[in-house]
């Protein structure tokens, strides 16, 4: 028997869909078996939890930060620039939103202007954080994986210093969190068909997805990104500026993560809390979201929903069967491993010869 492996130059869309669905299906199947063997959870309970995850309104709550960060990652990933600093960029947005809301916001400004201003500031904060890594890569060719990862720890440290130190709220009984931000700056949920939905951020997600989709598929800049990601030599030979691609994709990426951070503060927590509780790893899970969508912004909404549903399922299982956070990690980890493994079949065609 001989395995012949050939590189694919053309990747059919249906293959991408089949492989993604297969990865998700296999993850669920394997998780089901593991949970049955390890914790004696009956398969029907498991299936019920998955079903609940898919329809639970709380799925929408996770979908928002995951999809925003995931959307941001589509651009740099398409260019082959591995920004894994969404977590830190999200937190920068959260920190700046809190700072402005608590310390600079003049109370007589109309929230119709105030909230957009806050969102813009958070976008800029996230973008600025990503820019540090982008600049270092563009100017000194420093590996962006390392710099974005290390920046995450710097921002986490900074955030925790603030909530434990100078920003600790006077009304919080000594807990490590800031005061509640003025209520006119809260992003409120709207009830539609009995489900409470954060319309502001959902609209931002839809608009960004459409905009990114347009940029990637119909603009010269999107084309530059695609070429740079597929063949750097071709990009350089034809006069595409690598610096421009690196800086701009990182800026947009960081900005969208920053928006997610503002969303967490303004819509969910209404204050800055310990940073590991602001972003429960959304920035990292967003890597999976972007990857599952194959860097297609419209598909990112779907993959964001799927990953959010898996998180909900994990939490349902925690309540249902008394499992720990490990259940969520099992899904996310399993999906990451399988999605990357099956990606091999997308890049290469494998033929078995007897």
């Amino acid at each position: 028997m001989k395995l012949v492996v050939r590189r694919r130059f053309y990747k059919h869309t249906y293959l991408k869909i089949v492989l993604t669905v297969a990865a998700i299906g296999l993850t669920l199947l394997i998780s089901m078996v593991i949970l049955y063997l390890a914790s004696n959870i009956p398969p029907e309970d498991f299936i019920y939890a998955v079903y609940m995850g898919l329809i639970d309104p709380s799925t929408l709550r996770y979908l928002i930060p995951l999809t925003l960060c995931g959307l941001g990652l589509t651009l740099p990933y398409k260019a082959g620039i591995w920004n894994i600093g969404s977590e830190g960029q999200l937190l920068s947005g959260a920190i700046i939103a809190t700072y402005i809301a608590l310390y600079i916001y003049p109370t007589d400004i109309n929230p119709i202007i105030g909230i957009p201003l806050l969102l813009i500031a958070s976008f800029m904060a996230g973008a600025a954080t990503a820019l540090v890594a982008g600049f270092l890569k563009a100017r000194y060719n420093l590996n962006e994986i390392l710099s974005t990862l290390m920046l995450n720890y710097i921002i986490i440290g900074l955030g925790n210093y603030l909530v434990y130190g100078p920003w600790r709220g006077a009304t919080q009984y000594g807990y490590p969190r800031t005061d509640i931000i003025p209520s006119q700056l809260w992003i409120t949920n709207i009830e539609i068909l009995g489900i409470r939905i954060n319309m502001t951020l959902i609209i931002i997600i839809l608009a960004s997805a459409l905009a990114l989709n347009y940029i990637i598929k119909h603009t010269r800049f999107g084309y530059d990104i695609t070429v740079y990601g597929l063949n750097r030599d071709a990009a350089i030979y034809s006069g595409i500026s690598p610096e421009k691609v690196i800086i701009l994709t990182m800026l947009i990426s960081g900005g969208l993560a920053g928006l997610a951070g503002a969303g967490e503060v303004l819509a969910i927590h209404r204050q800055l809390i310990r940073v590991q509780d602001v972003s429960a790893g959304y920035g990292y899970m967003a890597i999976l979201v972007a990857w599952l969508s194959r860097m297609d912004p419209m598909a990112t909404i779907l993959s964001g929903y799927l990953v959010a549903a898996l998180i909900s399922t994990g939490y349902t299982l925690q309540i249902l069967a008394g499992l720990t956070i490990g259940a969520v990690n099992l899904f996310i980890g399993g999906l990451l491993v399988l999605a990357t493994a099956l990606d091999f079949l997308l890049e290469y065609e494998v033929e078995i010869r007897w």
Partner: protein, 501 residues
Amino acid sequence: MFRNREVIGLVGSTPTQLFINGLSKRFGPIHALKNVSIEFRGGEIHIILGENGAGKTTLAKILSGIYRLDEGEITINGTPVKIRNTKDALRNGIAIVSQYPKLIEEMTVAENLLIALDYYGPLTTPRSVIERAVELADKYGLHIDMDKYIYSLSFSERQRVEILKALLLNPSVLILDEPTTLLTPNEKRGLYRFIEMLKQEGKIVIVITHKIDEALEIGDRITILRDGKVIVSLPKEKLTKDMIIKYMFSDGAEENKYNQIFIRRDASNRNAVLVVEGVDVIDDYGYIILKNVNLKVFEGEIVGVAGIAGTGLKELGESIYGLRKIARGQIVINGRSVSYMKREEIANNVGFIPDNIVKTLVLELEVEKNFRLKKSLWSITLDAMERYINKFRIKAESPNQNTGTLSGGNLQKLVVSREVALKPKLLIATNPTKALDHISINVIHGIFREYASNGGAVLILSEDIDEVLRISDRIYVISNNTIKPVDSNKDARKLMMELLT
């Protein structure tokens, strides 16, 4: 395997014999070597001579275990041996000094040499290996400071380290791949002395080169390869320079490849589009590969530069296109210095066909998308694009076809058509018709001609002498690390051949 280093070496003992018999090697559809049989004898300097692509380096890589042979047999002292990897080769006493030293820049000479430790037993101390290296260096006149870092060394010093690395393994067969390409005359003499010493010890020395003079100067026996086949394998005394030239380059048979001959024109009273003044060109390793290059291309003319691969042809093109820093001098296109131009500006004003066209294509994207790669072609209409595709006879079903499915020749034509469609002031083409059939060559040459008649300036950098002879108004040849003009009216072909080799 080398538990006892005395076992491997045959220092000063009986001469070794190395036979290769019926050796063949294919890379996909390309026959790199076809049924090659050569006999190497101890105490003899055996030159493998041939043009680029003749299969010299493939042969060396098979003997040293870097490539595996497809067919054939290798026999050492009468015993057939299997060489499946570099370890097998070293076990059989075959070591190679490659053209570009493969050393670790951030380590000292001594640390680099300790790689040999693997092949001595576990009881050998690093110190004893270094002592042996110093001993060898003294013996062969390869003096080098063991504590210097590799990055601080010159090319010839690096080569000495590479040679010492090979000698530490006590080989009975030493292969040197193009060893003198980057050496000064003085350094060359040193290397020749060293090769002579190895010969006196009865070792087999195989020197791979494309330089005829060098072959005649140091060789005892010369094997000429062409298109992967052995043409002759004779003692030096039986060969003359003229014979070698005839054997190395397919004599005349190929001239028919080009059935149109163009009339040369004089364009020197027009404006110069490209001016290259006193430029030193640097190769990938940071060495100066071409010194003091002076070259002008005027409006409405085709200038051809002929050169053998690996002598700076590709690097010259890349330097003019601004992809490569130059060590000295200046390059001016349309009155503007390239070093002050943005890459995008150069890309959109200069057509460039690189040696490796895949570097300017994105095989995963459609033909149409590849055509739009340069910004000034971004909004070219599909009709205009199809006109180019038809004019160049590119076999593509539609502009939406995936580029990766086109054949090599069609990819080549796609790049040429795109760069011509750009309507640049200057068109630089490196081996523009490599891998093309006769009809396509004629089409492309015709288009270059048409382009020049419309006032464009074309610079052809080609390894194909006949191509340069045929379409150039003026000719240069890369010779001795610089470029020299050749009077195209005299017996240019013979002149070029002599300068090239």
